[in-house]
Symmetry: C2
Subunit: 339 residues, 2 copies
């Protein structure tokens, strides 16, 4: 039904090759012919078929987005959509197609990322929510498919990365806590194997040590970035130590901070009256909960945008692979009090 390149060619009295050259701004064509072709294109309301182009052309403009958590339903902890927002902002500005591959943590039979990409002639992929040890990710890197990982600090052949400077940001918020005279800290950490957990821990330790303090292993609670686990662990911690061991909880995500706050309240204590709490991420609800959460704001939309931009660069020139640091901001609200 729709006009094809053949229709345009016939209408303009040229060959399809010439039409293609006109569309793609190639050299081998005279200005007059080009104009004639464009006139026909307009008259017939022709638009190139993206699928056919994808098949024929070696260099595709398809990028893949591999995102975990999309299929899970968590009412608050939906970070992926902001990334997507940023990614789409870039791709719609730059005429890139995107294919989303929602991975499910539960589903065992996930398809290999590489397979997903090859099936779709994908030029490169943005990956979020994975750990460094992910086997499918390794396979993707080995296949030399350009990719950008979010929040995993690694740079390699055709692989770049975008994240905030987790070390610096964590040090900064810890400094803030210490400057408010909190010397006994309890860390609510994420998944033990996640790169962000390692980095944020490093930042917290840097701050603590440069202030002549230290954190015992007993005061690091790994909670897998889960609100429920954080609730449970903090509750146990307080029931065990009461107010003797820590005055503040340094949480590696807002979600876990929310769990911590709930636990503190359910133990009969108040925030920030009895315990101070900090988060990380600044998810939308963090400014609405009570007390409003002091946290590190990551602009995930920006991070998404930067990822897409970096990926495009790497696709065009593999030597562009690098670590891009996104901005962050310490949001001082009311979940921390000065001692």
């Amino acid at each position: 039904m729709a006009a094809t390149i053949h229709d345009v060619a016939k209408h303009a009295g040229v060959s399809i090759g010439t039409v293609s050259r006109a569309i793609n701004n190639y050299k081998d064509i005279s200005p007059e012919t080009k104009e004639r072709v464009f006139k026909s294109i307009k008259e017939l309301g022709y638009t190139p078929n993206v699928i056919a182009r994808g098949l024929s052309s070696k260099t595709t403009s398809n990028i893949g987005v591999i995102v975990s958590g999309l299929l899970d339903s968590n009412r608050f902890d939906n970070l992926w959509y902001m990334l997507l927002q940023g990614i789409y902002r870039y791709t719609s500005e730059n005429d890139l197609e995107v294919a989303i591959y929602p991975t499910n943590s539960k589903e065992q039979t996930r398809k290999s990322y590489t397979k997903f990409c090859k099936e779709r002639n994908i030029a490169g992929a943005i990956i979020s929510g994975i750990t460094i040890t992910d086997v499918y990710f390794k396979e993707l890197v080995n296949a030399e498919i350009p990719c950008v990982v979010i929040d995993v600090p690694m740079v390699g052949k055709k692989v770049g990365c975008v994240s905030v400077d987790n070390i610096k940001a964590s040090a900064e918020i810890t400094d803030y806590l210490i400057s408010n005279n909190h010397t006994k800290l309890c860390v609510i950490a994420g998944k033990k194997t996640a790169a962000v957990t390692l980095d944020r821990m490093k930042g917290i330790n840097q701050s603590v040590m440069s202030n002549g303090l230290q954190i015992d292993d007993e005061d690091i609670l790994y909670c897998d970035f889960s609100q429920e686990i954080a609730y449970k662990n903090v509750r146990e911690y307080i029931e065990k130590h009461d107010k003797s061991r820590a005055t503040a909880f340094v949480c590696m995500s807002d979600i876990m901070a929310m769990g911590a706050i709930d636990a503190i309240k359910d133990c009969g204590y108040s925030v920030p009256g009895d315990f101070s709490v900090t988060g990380f991420d600044d998810i939308p609800v963090s400014q609405l909960i009570s007390p409003a959460l002091t946290t590190i704001r990551q602009d995930l939309i920006q991070i998404g945008y930067e990822s897409a931009a970096l990926l495009k660069k790497i696709i065009d020139d593999p030597s562009e692979a690098k670590h891009v640091y996104a901005q962050y901001q310490l949001m001082i609200r009311s979940s921390v009090r000065s001692l």
Copy 2:
């Protein structure tokens, strides 16, 4: 690099047509040959190229999702991502490809939806965030591309629709207000031309009239589903009438309810002490704000899922086009008090 259907054919000693028949479960093939083909497929690690299939096959498994608001950044009012979540849940269960077309309300030069679909050999589209009068939508319907619209009650040739029963839900929440002795209501309405606005207004009126009450035009404030506009209008309304005219604000979205609550507070009044407020949607933050908002919960993930399922049905059999009603639930929280 990757194995193609030709490699498999050669390896299995058959023609590519036979391989295709094996993959697609066609009849004209003997069990033995089929098995041999599958063995080769496995050995070579072959997966059919989605792009090539899309080009060749008449019946594609690509669906389009046309969604407004994706490119805009509103920190709270992000309903699209839940729809997407539901849609992807269905499509990953049913092996459908999805292409997202983020439309921007501001961008004048939007591409026609039809063009978007035809470029991508799209079998059908899910559309959200449009008004009935949208010209591109009309074009899509005329092109007889199967589609499902969310929140626009219209059923036609190859076009179905998914929404909650806005009339019934609005009547229900208004009934609740009236049963709490609120007889003087002010309606915070959405965009005047939006179908949901009309329906919800109808529901409110039904409830009001069956209770022997009525609503004057002066007590209907159109706020375009915007928090800011709702704030402004409610503020003006209260400054003009004080507490004489209405005791409760019936808002057609939670976002506008948040604006209304802010306005009430800034006028020196309290919710629900001086004014009661209800919302619609039950966005995640609604249970966290203070007071927690009494509202209608729409399960947008479910709505997304249903939309995709309905679209698939319509694609397979155009006579399946109909209006599917999704569940809703009155969430009674603390923004309404009994008089």
